[in-house]
Structures are given as C-alpha cells and as structure tokens.
C-alpha cells in the first residue's frame, strides 16, 4: 500500500512542528519552509488526483487497522478537488504574507501550516469522529490566525468567533454521540449501511442528529441564522489570513456534501433527506441577506465579507437542488468564488496600503500613487467577481441557472440570484468610483504598490479567466464528482472491500 494519501496531513504537521520548535530561525528561512511545504501540497494533491483514476476512490487504512475499527482516509474526486483548491489558495496567501505581513505576530507560518493540516485532514478522512478532530485542528489554528497582528478589533471579533465555534463543537460531538449510540460505529461507510438498515424506532434520533449536523456545518458555512459572526471576523483579519479563510466557509459546505449524501441518503434520494429540505429555504434567505449586506458595507473588506455570504448562499441553494447537474455547477461555483473572494481580500489590502488613514473605507481620500493600474485591475476584478463574461463567474452562473431551470426551481432561485448579482454590481461600481474617480485635493500618497503583492493579486484574477477557458474539462471532472456523490454505494463498497482484503492479509 502506498502512503501518499496520508502525506497531505503529515507534511504540514512536520513543517508546522519544525517551525514551532525552531522559532528563532531567521524569518526568510521560515518563509522558505512554509512556501516549500505549501508547494509540495499542490504537487501531492495532483498526484493523488492521478492515483484515484477512473475508480474515483482510494482507501488508506491508517496503521493497517481494518475499518470500521481503524480510521480510514478515503480520497475521492471531491477530496482531490478541495485539496487542490486549498493548496492553490494557500500558496497565494503564503507568498502574499511573506512580504512582511508575517512579521506582525509570532508563529504565523507554524499556525498557517497547522491550519493546512486541519483542512487537508478534514477533506481526506472517512471517519466521523476524525472529521471532528480535524475540524478542531483547523479551528484552533484559525483562532490564533484571526488574532494575528493584535488590536482591540481583532480581540472582539475573535472572542465571538471562538465562543460560537466552541458551542458548534459541543453540538458536533452531541450529534456524533447520538449516531454512535444508535449504530455503534463511526466509520462513515459503515454508518451509511447501518442507518439504512436502522429500525423505524431509531429514525427520530437519526433525524435529530442529521439536523444537528446541519446546524454545526451551517455555523461554518455561514447559513442564515448562524452567519452573523462572519462579516466582522473576516473584516478585521489580516489580509492573507482573510484570503485563507475564504476556504473556511467551504469546509462547512464540503462537510455537508460529504456527510449527508453518504451517511443519510444511502437508500433514498438526497433531496428527500430532512436536512436537505431545510437547506433550500435557508440558503435562499442567506443569499438575499448577503446581497443586502454587500450594498450596506462601509469598507471594501467588509463588502468582500458579505460577498463570502452571497457565495455561500448561492452555493448551498444550488446544492440543495440535489441533481447531478446542479451539484456539478455548484462545485464549479465553489472553485470560482473561493479564488475570487480571496483575491478581493488581498486586493482590498493593496488599496488600503495606498490610502493612508482612509484605508479601504469608502470615503473620499487623496489620490493613490498607482491609481491607474489598480483601477484597471479593479475593473476586471469586479467584472470577474460579479459574473460578467468572459470570466468564470459568468460561466458558473449560467450553469447554476440552467440546472435550476431543469429542476423547476427557477421561480424562486432566479430572481434572488440575479438580484443579488445586481446589488453586487452596484456596490462594486460605487466602491470603484469612490476609490478611483473621486479624490480629495490633498497631495497624493507616494507609496507604490509592492510588486510581489500586486503580482499575486493579478495572477489570482487571471485564474478566473483560466477557469473559464478550461471550463469544459473541469466541468467533466465535476460532473463525475457529483455523480459519484449521488451513488454512495460505490464508496461504501470500496471501504468494505478494504476490510476484507486487510483481514485476508493478516
């Protein structure tokens, strides 16, 4: 058995531990270690992608303990997609941070690596309690990263974020406990089988657990009543941290996509599960609220935070449709929106650095030194973000609209989705005209944009164009992903076969 599937967890763990132990290493060396580790994760994710091949699944039993007793890692198409996306995003964020954002507090790179470890672990694991543990790993790292740089605003937002997530963790264990009490197993494939065979008397408990899971993942994914921590936390976080956090809401969405179709919908359609029926109205309300928030935001970072909510709402509404086409379109939108929100967090920082006291607040200030280049970049960025052609936002929105038409849900989704898009466009053009067209008469700032930072933002926005050029091959992959999510029997089969082959080997 090859050990490749466990490396995306081990490499950041080792790199992070090294950086903690050797904390007095010169900063450039820490940066080299951190960037090298992140780069290797990208390579690993692609290698895993080619390893899973046509079958679409791979089972790695840790310590050769047979499932369901041992913990298994099950990389499949969805895991590989998320691993690749995380590695790409982290690479941009860590390069951006290495321009001196990492000097603002201790242990930035170590925490960054631990965060990656938690993310990768959550994407790979096939065990429910292990998913909880990796959630904790990534959350604990994110608490400290959110506070990176210090200051009262961060302490205040951090306190809310930590307390809310601790309550979320408590709920997570309760739900896991209920499922264990009912079925006596924690392996997701085994859970799926036992839940599909559960006696009717146990069904209320199982459904209660599934709704608790919806709440827990909803806290992470910013589902409507549970999202009010998000705008403040994302607004005050340091720019590269906020960029990395763009993937954090997607972890919640990933967990929904992993747990609900597999564990609760083995013998029924996904849309018939109780949690999925709740998801649809809540996601639409999230989308509407995000649109209003974007219009009311007072700074560019704040606006981007609300765009994270818009994208979370769009994504969950699309997934709630439940068809293969809809899930594939949603996954495409996930890739697009993660990269674009992250790019905008970094871009807002780039603008804020040139406006002195005014920062990224939407007030008239003296002219920026690089207002022409930044203005052109803002124009293209806004077009990419709001979903105008030829960028990937346009492609993904077309697919989402098409799939909702096929599901007969266009009556409720179209007006809200397009309305939120319009609000986003209005807010972005208002921000752009305030930043670049209206300037106070004072002497312009003399600070030039840092070349590397500028380059990172440019490349991130270019990925949007690359996504729309490569849309068809990517979409084929995502359709295969969605199809395998909807046929969880195959996943269960692969894990059970591993049990058999491991027993024979002993």
């Amino acid at each position: 058995m090859t050990h490749l599937p466990v490396l995306p967890i081990l490499i950041p763990l080792i790199a992070g531990a090294l950086l903690v132990l050797l904390y007095d290493l010169p900063l450039w060396l820490q940066r080299v270690v951190s960037i090298a580790s992140t780069l290797s994760l990208l390579g690993l994710a692609l290698a895993l992608g080619s390893m899973i091949g046509e079958a679409g699944h791979l089972v790695y039993a840790l310590g050769s303990w047979a499932p369901p007793f041992g913990i298994v890692l099950v990389p499949d198409r969805l895991s590989v997609l998320m691993l690749t996306l995380t590695a790409v995003l982290a690479l941009f964020a860590v390069i951006y941070a290495s321009r001196n954002d990492d000097e603002a507090g201790a242990h930035f790179h170590a925490l960054f690596q631990f965060q990656l470890m938690g993310l990768n672990g959550a994407f790979l694991t096939g065990d429910l309690f292990n998913l909880f543990v990796f959630f904790e790993v990534l959350l604990i790292a994110s608490y400290a990263l959110l506070l990176h740089g210090g200051g009262p605003a961060r302490s205040r937002a951090g306190l809310h974020y930590v307390i809310l997530n601790l309550i979320g963790s408590a709920l997570f264990i309760i739900a896991v406990g209920i499922l264990y009490g009912v079925t006596g197993t924690l392996n997701m494939a085994d859970l799926a089988v036992r839940i599909s065979e559960a006696p009717p008397a146990d069904l209320p408990l199982i459904q209660a657990a599934s709704l608790i899971f919806l709440v827990v993942f909803g806290v992470k994914a910013a589902l409507l009543p549970l999202l009010f921590w998000l705008p403040r936390a994302y607004t005050v976080a340091a720019a590269p941290v906020a960029a990395l956090f763009a993937i954090m809401t997607k972890v919640g969405v990933y967990a929904m996509l992993r747990v609900f179709p597999l564990v609760f919908a083995l013998d029924t359609a996904l849309v018939n599960t109780l949690a999925w029926q709740w998801l649809w109205p809540l996601a639409l309300a999230t989308l509407a609220l995000g649109g209003i928030g974007v219009l009311g935001a007072t700074s560019l970072r704040n606006m981007t935070a609300y765009m994270v909510i818009v994208s979370a709402g769009t994504l969950m509404a699309t997934l709630a449709l439940g068809s293969t086409q809809a899930i594939a379109a949603g996954l495409f939108y996930l890739v697009h929106s993660t990269l674009m929100t992250a790019a905008f967090f970094l871009f807002a920082d780039l603008i804020a650095r040139q406006r002195g006291e005014a920062g990224d607040h939407m007030v008239v200030a003296s002219a920026m030194k690089d207002r022409r280049t930044l203005g052109i970049l803002f124009f293209f960025g806004a077009a990419a973000f709001a979903g105008l052609p030829p960028f990937s936002g346009f492609v993904s929105k077309i697919w989402i609209l098409e799939s909702s038409w096929a599901e007969g849900a266009s009556g409720s989704l179209w007006p809200i989705l397009l309305g939120a898009g319009l609000l986003m466009l209005i807010a972005l053009s208002r921000a752009g005209s305030k930043f670049f067209w209206r300037q106070s008469g004072e002497r312009p700032h003399e600070l030039r944009a840092d070349r590397v930072r500028f380059g990172v933002v440019c490349v991130m926005l270019l990925t949007s164009v690359a996504l729309s050029i490569q849309a068809q091959p990517l979409m084929d992959y995502l359709t295969a992903t969605a199809a395998s999510l909807q046929a969880p029997g195959q996943y269960v089969e692969t894990v059970m076969n591993t049990t058999r082959s491991l027993k024979e080997a002993h």
Binding site: F129, V133, E136, I140, Y143, L147, G151, P152, S155, R156, G158, L159, H160, V162, I163, L166, I167, S169, A170, I173, I174, V176, G177, I178, Y180, G181, G184, L186
Partner: protein, 113 residues
C-alpha cells in the same frame, strides 16, 4: 440510574445554555465549561450505562464498550485546551476593550478610554 443520569446531563446543558447567553465573558466561559461537561457525560452514556463491567475483556463476565471512553478522553483534552485559550482571550479582550462584555461595549456605562 438512567433517569438520574439523563436529568444530570439535561440540567448541566440547560445551565450551560443559560450562562452562554449572558452578556459578560466570565459567565459565558462558565457556561461553555458546563456545556462541555454535559457533552462528555452524554458521550460516555452512548456506550450504555452498565455496573461492574470494566472496559477490558476477561476482567469480568461482561464488558462495556471502550470506544466512548476514548472519545470522551479526546473531547476532554480538546475542551480543556479550548477553555484555557478562551480564558486568556477573554482577559486580553477585557484589557484591550476596557470592559468584559462579549460585544466589547458596556451598555450601562458610556465610558470611553
């Protein structure tokens, strides 16, 4: 025994939720602690309550499920570390914001540094 155990978990959870909804950070942290106690007890009970049945095979006629005990251990470790972290964070916030309200604003006092 089940009824007593269930009532204990229920009372702990109710007290925890009440305290978590308070406005100052210290009661909130106490609430989180009670909540995590309740969760640990709940998790322990998922292996079913049994008397004179250790979680080791061969020590007695029956044995209990050892897995919930391992899960509780993990949950205790994580919960303990997080309580320590949130206490320090609350202290830091109290010093920086000059009050101990969760929103960072004291509704009774209009005092600013």
């Amino acid at each position: 025994m089940e009824a007593l155990y269930a009532a204990t978990v229920g009372v702990l959870t109710a007290c925890g939720i009440y305290l978590v909804l308070r406005g100052r950070t210290f009661p909130v942290i106490m609430g989180l602690t009670l909540l995590s106690h309740a969760v640990n007890l709940f998790l322990f009970a998922t292996g079913r309550l049994a008397l004179r049945a250790p979680a080791v095979i061969g020590q007695s006629e029956t044995y209990t499920d050892p897995l919930p005990q391992a899960l509780v251990l993990t949950a205790i470790v994580i919960g303990f570390a997080m309580t320590a972290f949130v206490v320090v964070l609350a202290l830091k916030a109290a010093v920086e914001l000059r009050n101990d309200h969760v929103d960072g604003v004291d509704p009774d006092e209009d005092w600013r540094p």
